[in-house]
């Protein structure tokens, strides 16, 4: 994997088909975790909290400065039909430098904060542990959106 790669959990694919997410109207967040765990597509029932098999929030970075517990919200979530593809997109993430910011963010966990079980959608590979106290931190989603669904070729 490389920095910026986004991987969606296998469980999320099931959750979508079971209508457990309303990506356009739910609050979707990006929680930051340390290298204590290495998420993968096959991570069992991943959540940002208890209730599933894997509680990723237990590895959250230490909140502080401009990073609040739970992480920033992905603002203005949109689901659109764009050139024959269903696209889930949202505002980019930006956390300004602060001396009290977390110093060891390794993965970004995309999860549904509206969902009672806070089911996770996927994760972003930050490439290495990032010190947010040393400078501004930003994640720009892909120009094509966070996720697309299209007909199989």
């Amino acid at each position: 994997m490389a920095a910026g790669d986004i991987v969606f959990f296998d469980q999320f694919l099931v959750d979508v088909l079971e209508s457990l997410h309303d990506l356009e109207n739910n609050t979707i967040k990006l929680g930051l975790i340390t290298s204590a765990v290495t998420p993968s597509a096959t991570t069992a029932d991943p959540r940002w909290g208890s209730g599933g098999s894997t509680n990723l929030s237990t590895s959250q970075v230490t909140p502080g400065g401009n990073y609040s517990s739970g992480g920033p919200t992905i603002g203005n979530p949109t689901v659109t039909l764009d050139s024959g593809q269903a696209v889930f997109d949202g505002d980019d993430i930006s956390i300004s430098q602060n001396a009290s910011n977390p110093t060891n963010a390794r993965w970004g966990i995309i999860y549904n904060d509206t969902d009672t079980g806070k089911r996770a959608l996927g994760y972003v590979d930050l490439g290495a542990a990032i010190d947010l106290s040393a400078g501004d931190f930003a994640i720009n989603w892909n120009a094509s959106g966070i996720m697309t669904l299209n007909q199989a070729a």
Partner: protein, 65 residues
Amino acid sequence: MPHTAVINPSRDQQMVRSISRIKRLRLSIERASTTGNEEKLASLQAELDRRMEGVTAFKAELDSL
């Protein structure tokens, strides 16, 4: 299908992203207009305006070169 995000993007990368996002924001604004969701409409419009300002400023800089 998943895509690759950009960590700490350059300004050029931000512009590429903004141009695509602007297209989808317009589509979403069109939809929100038909459903009468005023709160969402205002939020989407504010993001669109912010993106447009960024692209316009970038273009002005290019034009001045």
